[in-house]
């Protein structure tokens, strides 16, 4: 309980310290990005994959931001993700708060999987999917982002959007499944000759 509230506090603190910008600019820019990907009759499956890739690229950079900010803000008790389940706390109470200004509830499904429940979707405020794009995973960038972040800190994960406001659901549910630790591999160039 105390740990939970300390994460909330850290999230609030990080949010209050980080420079901000208007959410409508963010939402509309994301809309334009998706629109651009969809523009040339690309099948939704490919768009979904591109969105995930974009999310991963963002996630890899966000994790640096996250680590540097949280270690500055709470040098005595850094938010370490020692176990897979711990990461849910870090994402829902600190990460999402820090970057999107929202928090999520966590439902632990099993030892190796949990679901993040967001009451609203900051990416899709003004979005209605046409029936021809009903299989588009509009918020896939969020899944990619979480995946990118967790993979950067050594967790192999599979992240899927289960529910989304654009599909008519009340909120967003993101399922995160752990697939074990990532093996550290040296890049080819760094091998001993």
């Amino acid at each position: 309980m105390s740990k939970s509230s300390s994460s909330t506090r850290l999230g609030d603190l990080a949010w209050s310290k980080s420079p901000k910008t208007s959410s409508s600019l963010f939402t509309l820019t994301y809309g334009v990005l998706v629109q651009h990907l969809c523009s040339s009759q690309t099948p939704s499956l490919e768009v979904n994959a591109s969105l995930r890739k974009i999310g991963q690229n963002i996630g890899i950079r966000l994790i640096d931001d996250y680590i540097s900010k949280t270690s500055l803000l709470s040098p005595n008790s850094p938010q370490q993700c020692t176990s897979f389940i711990n990461t849910s706390e870090a994402i829902s109470k600190v990460g999402l708060k820090m970057f999107l200004g929202i928090t999520a509830d966590v439902r632990v499904d099993s030892e190796n999987s949990y679901t993040l429940i967001l009451s609203s979707n900051p990416l899709a405020d003004f979005v209605e999917l046409p029936s021809s794009r009903s299989d588009l995973q509009y918020s896939n960038v969020l899944a990619g982002c979480i995946q990118g972040c967790l993979e950067s800190v050594g967790f192999e994960v599979e992240v899927t959007i289960v529910k989304d406001t654009v599909w008519g659901d009340e909120g967003v549910e993101v399922k995160v499944e752990g697939k074990g630790r990532k093996k550290e591999e040296l890049e080819g160039g760094f091998k001993d000759e």
Binding site: W15, S18, P19, K20, T21, S22, S23, S24, L25, F26, L28, T29, Y30, G31, V32, L33, Q35, H36, L37, I54, N57, I58, R61, L62, D65, M98, F99, L100, G101, I102, S120, P122, D125, F126, V127, E128, V141, T165, G168, D169, E170
Partner: protein, 192 residues
């Protein structure tokens, strides 16, 4: 049955408050936006073959953002019909809603009747943006130029907008040159 229909209705965009203030915050962190914008820029860079094409693609993306922002903020009762009115609306209301500040200044060009200049220091896309030499004259602010064009054209003022970087002591200032098309100036004269 009833339950499910009410659920889907409540999440329809038209039934939600337009301004997020009521639902979640009205802000997101700058890092989230900058990284997203970076991805958008990269996407356009890979699909365009020259700098003008790249800028045009980015400006087109901005157009969509500007057009929607205008519609979100426009006063439904009183529509701006004069050039100066719409420019003031743009540099205060639209700017405020997107960048949480007003544009630094709005000036009329001395050279031409149809030209106006909007000055802004450190426009959002140029923060953390380093243009490599290979891209030469590429200006990431063409996204903002697109936003201006989108907002003005949606308001019924056809125009061309270009972004120019001004090298000046500290910081960087960007001038957005708005050139209204002939029809707009003729209409303006009719009002005068």
């Amino acid at each position: 049955m009833l339950q499910s229909s009410s659920t889907s209705r409540s999440s329809h965009p038209l039934d939600r408050p337009l301004h997020r203030r009521a639902v979640t915050g009205s802000e997101v962190s700058l890092s989230a936006f900058v990284l997203l914008f970076g991805e958008l820029v990269q996407l356009h860079q890979t699909t365009s073959s020259s700098v003008p094409e790249f800028e045009a693609a980015l400006s087109k993306s901005g157009w969509e953002v500007g057009s929607r922002t205008y519609l979100m903020n426009a006063n439904v009762k009183v529509r701006e019909i004069r050039v100066l009115g719409v420019l003031q609306f743009l540099s205060s209301n639209v700017w405020m809603s997107l960048f949480n500040k007003k544009a630094d200044s709005l000036e009329k060009s001395l050279n031409s009747e149809s030209e106006y200049m909007i000055h802004d220091s450190n426009p959002l896309p140029t923060i953390f943006c380093e243009v490599p030499k290979t891209l030469g004259s590429f200006n990431p602010s063409s996204f903002v130029a697109g936003i201006i064009k989108g907002a003005l054209e949606t308001a019924g003022f056809g125009c061309e907008v270009t972004a120019h970087r001004v090298e000046e002591g500290e910081g960087n200032r960007t001038v957005f040159l708005v050139n209204f098309c002939r029809e707009v100036m003729e209409r303006e004269e009719a009002f005068a």
